[in-house]
């Protein structure tokens, strides 16, 4: 087989790697009331953030194609189990574009989570000022205030510290 003569071209300039912590969108909602929403879970049941008033809530935005997300999710499941008695609720919000509910359900089952997985709409992404990368997680205290906002995968210890912060804050 004869190899062709090749001509190459550089079409774009090199740019540096992303630094999620340097993103101007990072932590914009810290200290603010978590935007309300009503979404459907994988069973078609409506779920509102208001349903969990008085609970510490973790809102974890993820997608089936995201490896770091799927590392974190079993840890969120463990934390849900560990802190359930203290009122912790974990909600996973799927950010796949156009993926069927059945496929999302299969993926979340494979990851090993049983906490509610919700199918967000564009309004939720806008209200939470999501960046175009995931995972992104919001820790909401019992009064509904966002006490921590993280981008990217973190260690289980870091997740637990943020969960404890949400549980300890906003008590009535």
């Amino acid at each position: 087989m004869v190899m062709q003569k090749q001509q190459d071209v550089q079409l774009t300039q090199t740019s540096s790697a992303a630094d999620p912590n340097a993103d101007p969108a990072a932590k914009l909602l810290l200290g603010k009331t978590a935007p309300s929403f009503t979404l459907v879970d994988l069973n078609g049941k409506k779920v509102s953030l208001a349903d969990y008033k008085g609970h510490a809530v973790v809102l974890n935005f993820w997608a089936t194609y995201c490896g770091p997300c799927k590392l974190e999710m079993p840890w969120f499941q463990d934390l849900q189990n560990k802190y359930k008695g203290q009122g912790l609720v974990v909600l996973g919000l799927d950010e796949d574009d156009g993926m069927a509910v059945k496929e999302v359900a299969t993926a979340s089952k494979r990851v090993g989570v049983t906490y509610p997985i919700l199918m967000p709409d564009d309004a939720v992404a806008k209200n939470y000022q999501l960046s175009d990368y995931i995972p992104e997680t919001f820790y909401v205290d019992k009064s509904g205030k966002i006490v921590e906002q993280t981008i990217g995968a973190h260690s289980k210890d870091e997740l637990e510290a943020d969960v404890q912060k949400a549980i300890a804050s906003g008590g009535l």
Binding site: Q4, L11, T14, A25, C66
Partner: protein
Amino acid sequence: MNAALISVCVAVLGLSAGAQEIRLGDAPVAHRAHVELLSNAAEVKAGEPQTVVLRFRVEDGFHINSHTPKDELLIPTAIRFNTGSVVKIVDEVYPKGSAFRLPVGAGETVDVYQGEFRVNVQVVVPKGASTLVGVLKYQACDNAVCYPPKSLPVVMTVTGD
């Protein structure tokens, strides 16, 4: 170098970037591509199977899934060529990926492309200049975050001698 073709490529890429824009709050924020096409032209023997090498480069600090990621939930890198072209696609050979260990938890390993990678495309072209047109589908991540699946236009002039 075919200056006209480069202009076309740049225009195509520019249009694509515009189409991929999302809204973050009230301000439009352009998606970053993370992958670029380094090859834009080739000369091969006309009328018989020839290998054209498509060179791509993944932005430093990022990786994309290989053509055969080990997890079925991950999105494989693949080129979708336009049908109906005078350029006949005979075969596509993707490179093997390399192991990339995620820097969290127990360090799960994924199969990825980093830096430059090459896809060998076996084609049959007529005499004269033809255009190989397609789209590279890929999904990029860095050490901690992942970006939505994206498409990179692939346009290459293949001249049959």
